[in-house]
């Protein structure tokens, strides 16, 4: 099967600084790929580029066979920003139904997505009265309802309690099993083990493009946090001082 996302030679500058340095990678379809890296490493910038809202300096990004940001991709690619991007002065249900109407999905699809993220009981509450974790899930629901083929999630599990976090990861894998391609960013290395594939990003450079098992084997440690550190040291040793 063809790659869901192909990136070659991607360079992005933000505010006179180079934020992404010549990235190249492929995201396979129907899997959960983790985009892991510390805060400020360029994860959000990369996701913005994939969804076509980031000005890029050079490089090529192909999503589902089309240039990133093409009009025809807008109903096929779902994007959930890092900060919950839902309307605080609307209820969860009203938010979901609004976004559903933009995709031509009915209110049934909207209500189902709200229930799927575990907000069925809070559907009638204003978003501004929710906890930050609930806001994040409301934001996620507004992307799920469009049944996108590619789902780009920017730190969706930040601030969630551990039980919810596990449930959310189960849902990501269920979506992938049904054929959705997911790219999920996180700065928490202990989430890396939950991904089928890993992209390790640091200071705008791709350190590793691998699977958790291959990364563990290569670095000789079971701890992915430690593995990340070893990869960083390897690269620093390679660079001339």
């Amino acid at each position: 099967m063809d790659a869901a996302v192909t990136v070659t030679g991607l360079v992005v500058d933000r505010g006179h600084r180079r934020v992404l340095h010549d990235l190249a990678f492929v995201v396979p379809p129907g899997q959960v790929t983790g985009l892991l890296g510390p805060s400020g490493s360029g994860k959000s910038t990369l996701l913005r580029a994939l969804v076509g809202v980031q000005v890029v300096r050079s490089g090529e990004i192909t999503v589902l066979g089309r240039p990133a940001g093409s009009a025809s991709l807008r109903s096929r690619v779902g994007y959930v920003t890092q900060a919950p991007s839902v309307y605080a002065d609307l209820t969860v249900r009203e938010n979901a139904r609004f976004f559903a109407s933009l995709y031509g999905a009915g209110s049934a699809a909207a209500d189902r997505a709200v229930a799927d993220v575990g907000l069925g009981d809070a559907a009638g509450r204003l978003v501004r009265d929710l906890s930050s974790g609930q806001m994040g899930r409301a934001s996620l629901a507004c992307a799920l309802l469009a049944r996108p083929e590619v789902l780009l999630l920017d730190e969706p599990t930040v601030g969630l309690d551990p039980v919810l976090r596990v449930e959310l990861w189960e849902q990501f894998h269920a979506l992938a099993a049904a054929g959705t391609t997911l790219l999920v960013s996180s700065h928490v290395m202990d989430e890396a083990g939950r991904c089928d594939r890993l992209l390790l990003l640091r200071e705008g450079r791709l350190l590793a493009d691998s699977t958790p098992a291959a990364l563990r084997a290569r670095t000789g440690t079971d701890d992915l946090e430690e593995a990340f550190l070893r990869v960083v040291r390897e690269q620093q040793a390679e660079l001339p001082a």
Binding site: R48, T81, E94, F98, D116, E149
Partner: protein, 261 residues
């Protein structure tokens, strides 16, 4: 999320009909207003209270109130809708919802038209209330039909919405957005012929007044004030205001970039 989620295969939906997305935005804007009853109350009541204050101010000179009060019916919705819209659009920008909207199938003109229709409707209600109070309770009088006053106030409100949408593109914060009010709105109020009749202005001021759209809204109202039936000049005035609103919307769409740095 206790039960395993019912995962649906990806594959999207049939596309939303053109126009449906505009209506969706309008519905959303009005729903947001509905959750904010205090704003609705302020929108509907404040202009009438201010009109009452002016009536009291000119008790001894009712003909001055007839002239100024009438013009105020164009200025209130213009100013209020400009402010409300620019803040609403700025919030959309800073909360990340705009970035998200730009990744959905919603066309940019549909977003702006949806806003225009939503706040335009709110403005129509405001104009109807203010006009009813002005003519019913405060004894405001015009030679022409009151219905035209409401129509002019509405078109003028849509102009305020369109300019608000345009200006919000140049504001990075709420503080900046409210500063655009004196910059964009006050010169139009000063030069529209309310404070000094346009014939008495210096030539260069008249030239500026000629290119400011509020001038035409005020002129249209003055036509209704002094003529028993709709005049050709009033129709031209209205067309100019509507054209300016459309131009501002087109410019707003052009400044609304999908890709940002």
């Amino acid at each position: 999320m206790t039960a395993a989620p019912a995962v649906v295969r990806p594959g999207g939906h049939s596309h939303a009909a053109p126009g449906a997305t505009t209506l969706a935005v309008t519905g959303r804007v009005l729903r947001q207003l509905r959750h904010d009853p205090r704003t609705i109350a302020l929108l509907l009541v404040v202009p009438s209270l201010l009109l009452g204050l002016m009536d009291a101010l000119w008790t001894e000179q009712p003909q001055v109130f007839d002239r100024v009060g009438l013009v105020m019916l164009a200025i209130f919705p213009f100013v209020v809708m400009f402010l409300v819209t620019s803040i609403a659009m700025l919030r959309e920008r800073t909360s990340g919802t705009l970035e998200r909207l730009l990744t959905t199938p919603l066309p940019r003109p549909a977003l702006l038209l949806g806003y225009g229709a939503g706040f335009g409707l709110a403005a129509a209600l405001q104009a109807a209330v203010t006009t009813a109070v002005g003519f019913g309770l405060l004894g405001l009088e015009t030679a022409g039909p009151v219905g035209w006053v409401v129509v002019i106030a509405m078109v003028d409100a849509v102009l305020g919405v369109a300019l608000g949408l345009l200006c919000s593109a140049f504001a990075r914060s709420e503080f900046q957005a409210v500063q655009f009010m004196p910059v964009v709105v006050l010169p139009q109020v000063f030069l529209c012929g309310l404070l000094v009749p346009r014939e008495l202005m210096a030539g260069w001021l008249q030239a500026i007044s000629d290119v400011l759209p509020l001038t035409y809204a005020v002129d249209a109202l003055q036509e209704v004030g002094s003529h028993p039936a709709a005049t050709g000049r009033m129709a031209v005035d209205l067309a100019v205001v509507a054209g300016a609103a459309l131009l501002a919307l087109v410019l707003a769409a052009a400044t609304l970039r999908r890709r940002t740095s």
